[in-house]
Symmetry: C2
Subunit: 694 residues, 2 copies
Amino acid sequence: MFPLFWLAPGGSLLALLYALVLSLRTRRFDEGTELMRQIAQAVREGARAYLRRQYLIVGLFFAAFFVLLLILALSDILPRFVPFIFVTGGFFSALSGFIGMTQATNSSARTANAARTSLNSALRIAFGAGGVMGFVVVGLSLFDLSFWFFILNMVYRSLPMNERLLVITQTIVCYGMGASFQALFARVGGGIFTKAADVGADLVGKVEADIPEDDPRNPATIADNVGDNVGDVAGMGADLYESYVGSIVAAMALAFAAGLGIRGVLLPLAIAAAGVVSSIIGTFLVRTREEASQRALLFAIRKGIWSASILMALLSAVIVQHFFPDNFNFYWPVLVGLVCGVFIGLSTEYFTSDNYGPTRRIAHASKTGPATVILEGLSVGMLSTVAPVIAVVCAILAGYFLPGGATHPSHGLFGVAIAAVGMLSTLGITLATDAYGPVADNAGGNAEMAGLPANVRERTDALDAIGNTTAATGKGFAIGSAALTVLALIAAYRSQILLHFGELTLSITDPKIIAGLFIGAMMPFAFCSQTIKAVGRTAALIVLEVRRQFKEITGLLEGKARPDYAAAVNLCTVAAQKEMVLPSLMAILVPIIIGVLLGPHGVIGLLIGALVSGFAVALMMASSGGAWDNAKKYIEKGEFGGKGSPEHKAAVVGDTVGDPFKDTAGPSLNILIKLMSTVSIVFVGFILRFVLFK
Amino acid sequence: MFPLFWLAPGGSLLALLYALVLSLRTRRFDEGTELMRQIAQAVREGARAYLRRQYLIVGLFFAAFFVLLLILALSDILPRFVPFIFVTGGFFSALSGFIGMTQATNSSARTANAARTSLNSALRIAFGAGGVMGFVVVGLSLFDLSFWFFILNMVYRSLPMNERLLVITQTIVCYGMGASFQALFARVGGGIFTKAADVGADLVGKVEADIPEDDPRNPATIADNVGDNVGDVAGMGADLYESYVGSIVAAMALAFAAGLGIRGVLLPLAIAAAGVVSSIIGTFLVRTREEASQRALLFAIRKGIWSASILMALLSAVIVQHFFPDNFNFYWPVLVGLVCGVFIGLSTEYFTSDNYGPTRRIAHASKTGPATVILEGLSVGMLSTVAPVIAVVCAILAGYFLPGGATHPSHGLFGVAIAAVGMLSTLGITLATDAYGPVADNAGGNAEMAGLPANVRERTDALDAIGNTTAATGKGFAIGSAALTVLALIAAYRSQILLHFGELTLSITDPKIIAGLFIGAMMPFAFCSQTIKAVGRTAALIVLEVRRQFKEITGLLEGKARPDYAAAVNLCTVAAQKEMVLPSLMAILVPIIIGVLLGPHGVIGLLIGALVSGFAVALMMASSGGAWDNAKKYIEKGEFGGKGSPEHKAAVVGDTVGDPFKDTAGPSLNILIKLMSTVSIVFVGFILRFVLFK
């Protein structure tokens, strides 16, 4: 085995050990009163029950797909390890979601309890839970990728180096399909659950019955908290698992296509390993003073992320210098990726934080009612696409041309792929800041339901508000890196086609490419339509259920009787499972159908169309949703009439519309696009046999 | 002059004469009571005052652009007649908007008066007013195009035929820029005016003060009616003027590029002329029984459109056979265009009419409040993109391959352009059905303000409800034809580039094309963000003004004092004029900036990206907006609690959000994309001198 290879398993081990340390440290803290413990237990059980059911259904799909891939592999249309690597991709994605969620549900009561005495300890516990998620994702993906590289390298050791690397990269790129496949189910299913519960709880609780959020009298309140864990933690973990893995395998495939040999193929893994070290060091810097302001809290988190990025910029320079002593130009894309990620994060923050104009203007629009809140929020979301698009365009051009893409296009494409790896290299810490939000949110729910004093809720609310901004930033990372990764995957798809055809002109004025572009650009709309409708439909069921309980359980609204929490949890679970299937199948079937009807030209058009329109739609949804949420929180702080005013009611409408935007439809789009790309790659050999119109 | 040329001026004359007949026929009817006359006069004056100001500002932009184009023409970068043809394009577009609007404002009181006795006469008057708009647009565009063809053919008569056609088509394609330029201002300015007035009036009137729509006590009610005329009549007329002209000039340019000579160049004009005849015959069939149902009314209009389409299918077969006796294949694109247009119309109707599930489900969602109404409506709008995208993709593929695009790509591109001409050939009647809606709407307003009996308002409401569906259909035509026209314009752009370069590889994986695609796909979002925000901002001003009047004018709400209507009209006029400038400038500057930065590759990516994402966004906005409006009307018919219920209030929120969607942002997108394309074509010679990164 090549000595440089060992960086990846080393990084994996380090990440997993660190996650273990973080997890054990949390155990030392107390879960608080008996009631707090009970609430945490109920949430934990609901979340586990949901995941069990989800994994069962997803497992069935994996089994069916495994058989299909096995047939293709046995017919020599696919490399023979593809079915197995596909399954492990899904398995490890699910495992990291499960571990992260377990940690999150173990930490919410502890965070609430810590918040009784100290803001800093509460921050450290919540952030530690996020850290477990972050480093488990990074550790398990590096582990599995190293494992397969090791195995495949052994199995094919008799082949000459070039052929060996071809089959290794061809096989390993299919790993991404497994991860994306499971991620899409997790994001969509979890997203529908969490937002249906949230929207449903808000619609009857806050708007109709006029009781506060997380009030124990609301029968949907446990479901709401379960939702945060299955959607915003497990779903998001799976999402970023596939982003991370996708960027690495795409870069590996393009390194081979660029003729960069084993060093090129191992470079993305080495950069990822360096990212683990940078991220761990960054997490040590996340701490704050007691009674810190919002700004100070945000700065505490920023400090961690920025330090990790700067460290990463230095480490990757050393790595590239060591890998390619005569071509340091491959360093620039890493730097470009890091800068682009930070820039997208800042732009997202500007549009979603109540420190700035856009969110405040949404809050101001509440003076003229819900319609103007919606219009202003949509307008903010649409405008927020501009800066990230420019950033990504700059990253594409710089990532392509700086490593010499003008003369060596294949080096340029590898550069774009490496930019994606660079952007995601500090995932350990960015995901930690992202997953910490729902833990803080749940801690707030726990505090409210357990009847803790108001200052506890104030502390958890402070943590939660920052969580909204970091979540939006995390989504920016996911979609920004997706743009670069999908371009790399499309290039990988093209190089697969070239293996079959030898030559391929892909003129953009080719009507089949244009047809593909139109259909691709429409896909995010069709997909979001399905997922938003699913949330609306499920939320309506919750509303009816809660209304039924308010009516049938006597003394419930007076706080004398307990609601039937489990009924709402079950309802969400069943509905989310049912609703996640159709949109997920769309992602798999459309590229195959277009491939058969319009051939590779149609598929490339489809993928690029879905990418460019999906990028804009995803950014719009993330920003509108985040801004609506924070505009509502801004009013709740006492601006424009404060809680309970007509302005507040108008802002709640915005928040409710934003929920499925930011946590169901929007964040699923980057997975949708990547899954479409990997499906196209995996089935390329199959499709080329059946193209109807050549 | 070629004998076949005379078809176009003949068609023009016929269309203009028919418009005159329709206009004179309306004069015979009475405007009703003194109060009705006064109200009509107030609306007329407000609308005229608005247009005068708009033309002044647009005139300044035209003057500046004229000078710029003159400099380019004098430097031999552009053909020398371009500056003049550009100006006439704008002038005739403005003129047809003005005539159409004058007729509309002259017909609303007459329609209301006729509705006192007969539904059929009311329909005939309102539809006649729409017909004036439709046939003036068609007549003036054919007139101006024929005029320029005649002049240019004379001026360049010393050139050999091929060179002569080159310069003629190169010059005439710039006609489109003038039309698009003025249309964008008209659509955006008029759209902001009408929707700001509408939203503002609804927000304070219906929601806050609980008085019905068009109540004379509402100070914004005249502004609302003025808005219908300047936005939905004059703006829409300018919009379809540029669609119509754009499709014809793009087809003429591509006929030349395909080497089809004078017959090819004249074919689009001849097809358009045949469309005039078909449309006139179609209008004779639009009549209905007294006390007809909604369905019967819709059928009356349908009958007209479908008969015109069938007639057109027959006439164009004769024409193509006569023009190209040996290549009848150019007929199929005409047919494909006609069928695609009808299909998009049907799909739009399904999603926006309360006869079908989607709109009813939005009404149903009102039971759980405004947030679910918004979510359901957005979801419906997003889903409504699927069928039109598939229809347009089929039209592109059929239009390209049926005339032999597989072996002669230039014939294929001409086929796509001819499909657009075919789709718009029956514009005379489709625009009539489209422009009739606002006249019926204004008639309702007039009836309400003049205190006519309830059955009059019922009749005008019945006419108005159909108007919502035909308006959505009209938008489907505009955006569907835009997709095909823009492809033709892009092909025309490419052939311009080829004149400079000789060769051009446009691989879709070229990073500069990808960069262009990303920016292009983002453009519709940035543009809609601006226009929606403008409506929200202006509506907020109206709300404050109306609230001020309610407070300061004693006795207003009791109906004892008259509001200050003119204040609201002025406020809208000034705000709309101010707000229309930035989004319109975006459309002109971005293609030039991208051209300079990224060269022709970037520009082609930009145009295609804007096309595929703008197509989806425009469809979504048109359908969501139409469906919300009709869901509200459905509830007003007595479903789900009827007028004044909480369900109705929730539906009004949807309607308000939908207003700028369907009448400001959405319908401007097709103009935006076409203007970007024509700007790229006109400035191609300029840009090629200054490209930074080649």
